[in-house]
Symmetry: C2
Amino acid sequence: MSRVYCALVHHPVRARDGSTVTTAVTNLDVHDLARLARTFEVAGYFVVTPIAAQRELVERILGHWRDGGGKSRIPERAEALSRVVVVGSLEDARARIAAEEGTPRTVATAARTTEGREPTPYGEVARMVAADGPPLLLLFGTGHGLTDEVLAGADLLLPPIAGRGDYNHLSVRAAAAITFDRLLGAGAA
Amino acid sequence: MSRVYCALVHHPVRARDGSTVTTAVTNLDVHDLARLARTFEVAGYFVVTPIAAQRELVERILGHWRDGGGKSRIPERAEALSRVVVVGSLEDARARIAAEEGTPRTVATAARTTEGREPTPYGEVARMVAADGPPLLLLFGTGHGLTDEVLAGADLLLPPIAGRGDYNHLSVRAAAAITFDRLLGAGAA
């Protein structure tokens, strides 16, 4: 198991117009990121939403897969979803990690660059993963991405994922897949 | 634009029990892979299903985004979906590419290894992408993956995506994201 955690943030995130909003949890993001987290041995996957009814919804989904009908039908899905934790805020996620492993360094991801803020290359963060340093918490934003405040408050910022042109509108599922592979993958052999 | 194409195959694919089935098209896979294809300059994305009603459904979705209400609301999504082509079979996809650019080499992806078949490393296929050879058609299977016949018939086979353990149950969306990044990405800098 790595000492890397991830958080899928539903608040605070940006809307298309730049305002701060709370997005709805989607069942598919819970599953896709859990499968990725299991594949790349991410130690824990936090689904972050301040809305209690949404947290209950995710807990119901998890219950179905961990103990209910889903588990007997697709056991490997149950295994993936076993490392999902539902929390109300990023602070809750950090506190949970701090209690178990020590205060994490937060690593923000963004599709855009931030003026005056130098991103840390993927290779450098990959070396931190391999080294015996503090745990890392990777932050992924839903909607139109993490707010400026979250980006500014993060310890590190990863560069936007570069494709072959200027288009940069990946789904958070695809962005998380590529980020995990670059930081935690066995190497593109 | 690269000379790389991709196909999301809904038939023939394997069911959990190993039998050959046709899976249903999902709206989200159309969108996620189109956004990936646009980001990585994949020349065309074929949605492959032999079911006419499913092809019509995808065409309706595409119409909404290319010319309808979706285009004015999220123009960058219209741009991504502009390179989606709906076809009835893998042979149709190959014929479409052959008519425009010459017969493609097919490159299959799989979460499992095939006995007696040596996969081609990602780096080697990446060099084919960069070289001025024939076009490449990447095949992604839905359900429980491409059938043995499709794997056997492909010109090349990529290795399963290795995470950090033995778990290998990624969504096709996540697998496609990682594959595109390994073959077409600007490099994990």
